[in-house]
Symmetry: C2
Subunit: 354 residues, 2 copies
């Protein structure tokens, strides 16, 4: 899922995403809640109508940004008390409010509010935080059922078909992850996410936790690894049962000139590309690779042109979405193991710069 | 002509320009000379191939930016001695070098180097500066003829069909403008530009100088007013014989949230648009107006999204290019006078904000 934090993927227009093969966009509840506001968006008919995007949208709960971005965040059993990073206004995000806000936004998939744990954490801290997240998940699910039943005053529900996903926490501890997965499944959601990974732990640890969790989740419901990762991470985690991902890496790195190609990673500001007339990735069919040279992309980046952000984002998203498409094809053709081996043996994770 | 200073119109891709109806792009010699360099561009096969734009390109001489943007510019009869605003490197721009650099860029229309006079200027200063511009124009034209004859070593000519335009100067003084026009036409160019207007003088003065100059220029060759202006300026100056324009107004104002519409000017950050579900300009057929509301455009602008720059630029350029298309149609149908009256009586030059 490309990340469209504030209702747009940065530097792109929606048809660019569709052309790159995006089937769903992620937007961030925290940002939209503060600006332009969930009630304003509900009055516009919900997020889809407000931003003019017809395909599905997943919204997060807002919790991750409250913990990482907001000023003076204080967490209690009730929820997270914080101040807006924009204007300092005091806000309270509870499991119920996170559910209400996403109901107003009318995304297709809403996430429950969970507590985001710093890495590393002790077993005790991880256990305590995970159990609070379970209690919050129960409250979030109850609220969702009330909203579906039409019994909540003051909340304009923009999308009657909205699904809700639970989130498995528990840090890097397999016993806690198992407890969290079982408890979350016991509450019952339309899909399940794995939170609290891709936060600084070693890759192998992320993979083994993902594998341990997906085994305990229903295989006939979506399993979503939040916040990962590199193209290799996607393949390794699909191999372990993950269906869905989101990450700012393709879009943020693109704006910083870090590009993913089938031949290796490219830092486009490197002087070696100044007179390189080849396309960024000869194997890529995106607009950028079909029309422009590395030399031109380097020039635009060095000159600080906004167009560089657009062309680079278009390419990186195309590379990511094409990788996911190839994964799906390989699974359908029962050639996933070979695809995985070839991808990991290819040079795509190395730097082309040196 | 949309302005693509460094080889791209800011925030857009080339197909956006074509869709908006752009038949030619302007690029700035000063910027390209300093970065990535005219010789690098010549090695790529010229500016068209380097940037991947197939339609015509006009390049300016670089003089205007040398006088306004460079550090420590000193003008002598030989040319302009200056330091790059990027790295302080000392450079010399002479009429010959301005011609050589544009030959390497391979634009379709090159401009002679002229001296840009500050407004206001005395008659004496304007006369002296204008006569130096004439001497520079003679040198620039001589160099162009040598380049066409293939007798200049060390200059890779990227476009054998490149045209060269002379520039009429003389400030706001009709006698000087007449002298400049006659002298420039006597040298002989493929087209003629009017420089030194749209620099702070009253509109009526710009119009009367433009009219006085176009009368003395060959009517069967292009007449180009440099650096203007508002949509009203375009119409008023077409009425006075001008064929071509360039201006950063549609693109720069777009990035600042100043939008041109058939109903009036819109400052999109105005709070009155926060819940305005109407398209920016219901009469406009551009991508932005067909797909998005004022409320969404305001949200993107307030949130500082790069997508705002792209959507706003797309609209403003469409409005300008559509205005020029309507002017051409009106001329062809012999209804220009009525079109001009109706446009000036319309509310498009007023603010919609209040």
């Amino acid at each position: 899922m490309p990340v469209g934090t504030q209702g747009t993927v940065k530097a792109l227009r929606h048809p660019d995403l569709e052309e790159a093969g995006a089937e769903i966009m992620l937007s961030n509840t925290y940002h939209l809640l503060l600006r332009p506001g969930d009630e304003l968006i509900a009055r516009r008919g919900g997020l889809h109508r407000f931003i003019g995007w017809k395909r599905p949208i997943l919204t997060d709960s807002g919790g991750y940004q409250v913990f990482s971005l907001a000023d003076r965040c204080a967490i209690t059993e009730e929820g997270a008390d914080f101040r807006s990073h924009l204007d300092g206004a005091r806000q309270m995000l509870t499991p119920e409010r996170a559910t209400d806000v996403q109901a107003r936004l009318g995304s297709d998939i809403a996430m429950v509010l969970d507590e985001c744990l710093a890495f590393p954490a002790t077993h005790e801290a991880a256990a305590s935080s995970m159990r609070r997240s379970i209690r919050w998940a129960e409250r979030g699910r109850r609220r969702m059922m009330e909203l579906r039943g039409g019994s909540v005053d003051g909340v304009q529900v923009s999308n009657l078909g909205q699904a809700q996903f639970g989130i498995v926490q528990g840090g890097v501890f397999e016993d806690l992850r198992a407890e969290s997965a079982d408890s979350t499944v016991a509450i019952g959601f339309e899909g399940y996410a794995i939170g609290g990974l891709s936060v600084g732990e070693p890759n192998e640890q992320m993979y083994s936790v993902a594998e341990a969790v997906t085994r305990r989740l229903p295989s006939d419901q979506p399993r979503y690894l939040m916040g990962a990762g590199t193209p290799e991470d996607l393949i390794e985690c699909v191999a372990r049962g993950v269906d869905m991902f989101d990450c700012v890496m393709p879009t943020r790195n693109a704006r910083n000139g870090q590009l993913f190609t089938s031949q290796g990673r490219v830092n486009i500001k490197n002087a070696r590309y100044a007179e390189d007339d080849r396309p960024l990735d000869p194997a890529c069919q995106c607009y950028t690779c079909r029309h422009h040279s590395r030399a031109y992309l380097r020039h635009l980046f060095m000159a600080g042109e906004m167009t560089a952000g657009a062309l680079n984002t278009l390419h990186n998203l195309s590379f990511y979405l094409d990788t996911m498409r190839r994964i799906r094809d390989a699974i359908a053709f029962r050639t996933f193991d070979r695809f995985r081996q070839e991808f990991l043996l290819s040079s795509s994770h190395l730097s082309l710069d040196s």
